[in-house]
Symmetry: C2
Subunit: 406 residues, 2 copies
Amino acid sequence: MKIIVQKFGGTSVADVSRMKSAAKRAIDVHTSGSKVIVVVSARGRMTDELLELAYEINDNPSTRELDMLLSTGEQMSSALMAMAIHSLGYPAVSFVGRQVGITTDSFHTKARIVDINADRIIEELSKNKIVVVAGYQGVDKNDNITTLGRGGSDTSAVALAALLKADICDIYTDVDGIYTADPRIVPKARKRNKISYDEILELASMGAQVVHVRAVEFAKKYNVPIQVRSSFNNDKGTLICKEVSEMENIVVSGATITKNEAKITIIGVPDKPGQAAKIFQELAKENINVDMIIQNISAHGLADVTFTVLKDDLPLALDTTERIKREIKAKEIVADDKIAKLSVVGIGMRTHCGIAEKMFCALSDEKINIQMISTSEIKISCVIEENQAEKALNAVHSAFELNKEE
Amino acid sequence: MKIIVQKFGGTSVADVSRMKSAAKRAIDVHTSGSKVIVVVSARGRMTDELLELAYEINDNPSTRELDMLLSTGEQMSSALMAMAIHSLGYPAVSFVGRQVGITTDSFHTKARIVDINADRIIEELSKNKIVVVAGYQGVDKNDNITTLGRGGSDTSAVALAALLKADICDIYTDVDGIYTADPRIVPKARKRNKISYDEILELASMGAQVVHVRAVEFAKKYNVPIQVRSSFNNDKGTLICKEVSEMENIVVSGATITKNEAKITIIGVPDKPGQAAKIFQELAKENINVDMIIQNISAHGLADVTFTVLKDDLPLALDTTERIKREIKAKEIVADDKIAKLSVVGIGMRTHCGIAEKMFCALSDEKINIQMISTSEIKISCVIEENQAEKALNAVHSAFELNKEE
């Protein structure tokens, strides 16, 4: 017997009619003879509204209490979804994370699942019920309610799919799959039929947040096939699965731009061992996440160190860097928050040459200057001027012929 | 060391500023050296809004799923209250009913508490924290979330107070105590300083729903003193406690009118054993709650049976009565939903004579006709015409000099 996990995001359960169409999808699978587990997010803007309320009361709310508060959004959705399924004449039962044995560590607001005991789900499935589970949450070993961070419902769904050895984890959302680029920017962007876990991880970490990163990591680890699809139509979505040899033929599977980073350059760092370590140790202490790092040796034994941080972290990063500057006797600090990061991702890069050159040429043809470059096995990223981002994305999309059929 | 339970109703936590003033009350007690347990209801209209949503999705929602849904309202309030206490610089931790070991039976939406394991509360109190508990809820032995019915947060508060042997259970609400009559109807109504459990039970069952009936029953059983007081000022409220001899001097402690009942008379019931039983058995089968019952023998071995039911139940009660009428060969059915029930309550009635006469005279002086009379040990109720209700309440309030000091 097939087991299917369906996850419905906030927009897919935002109101009564959408909740009923989500219920119908679960029922369709149920009546076809498969077992269905439905994982739901909080409705629409619920989580944001609760957060606003929390910050109105306390400008630095306890993360434990935030979890207590935010977990109610998914609990509501799960109860309402069970009621919606009942209203269409089918059996269903809802559970919060804890009730289906989702145990996490104690890092409130970003907890990780450490164990799931699916006995109760299996019991209810065996009674032929549709099981509805509140996503995004669990409980730690001291019985405190925890949440898994933004997008955590994806992780709940994939974790349950892994444990129950589900045939597929369908993630219903407001887009109909993963695109070669953001279609709002690149009109010729095309929906991919299939993409590998590694590619989606690189894309997701760059802001193409259709599926939560941690969920994909989980899916990759346990080899759970995920289908990202629209809750507004019945089209096939994009299958996220393990790498198969045919994928290697596709050199670049997607391109993205992100504008949430800023660049800091420390000019004139004495070029001796341990200086870079000092800079990034101090930034790490302040919990500032550093993305790209470049170091060039300049004249007279002095180096320039450039790195990017999230724009939100820029003020704190600048304060920290000023402090380090004095300590390590660097010369100057320059910051720029008008940058964008353009990236191309593809498993095929591992076995194909000339990808970077093709990207650089495409940018050069459009007279776009590259400020920083960073590469991984399956990704090339360039930092460029912010106001050239859209033009650059289109140029690269065309250069790699991403509009053509797979 | 003193232990104090404070319960804040929906209006007392409706918005951020009210939540903060509730938090301040808890902190005042905490800083005075007492242990504080705060029990909270859902904010403002939250429960009603969730109910509306549920009925929009399913016109007959599963009670299990309703509990799953409704319990989130109190959970939110508890987290927000803990945040409010934190924001004022004091330690607090919130719990849902289950986390503080509140086990109930499985009658969803009207569950009864069967056990509480207060280990976690005691542990947190010993760490000098203010413990915030989501009222109204528990969990049954199969780990399903349950709720205790409307006003159930009062019951949660009193049950915790009983278990922890609290010195007092303060119930903060939008009125400043229990009055001798509804002050909106009787301008001379006066707040009582003290009232017995039995009196409040009689008054509560007649619509003076300041404290939930079940909470008072619980308080009576475990001798928990309750103080009903306003969350908008610091005045003393009304103490609800066990009967003390001084209370006997107060013949009547309060008077109420209710307009939520209708009257049905079955005329010409053959006067033989078992006929009344048949009528009320059938009504019970339909889950119709019958309040007052009167039977008069009329001429020719025929009796008239009159009883009252909730107005909401009137259509179903009439259908049922019509069916029984044919079966028992009664003559006619007459209904009247333009009635009011006037009641006076007082422990002193047990030891004082002439109370009923005084009430009847007061009504007679105002030319108010009494349609039905029913008495208990500490209560006298009369059914009168609805449009005379207010005049009747004022007349009785004056006759018993309820405006005078205790």
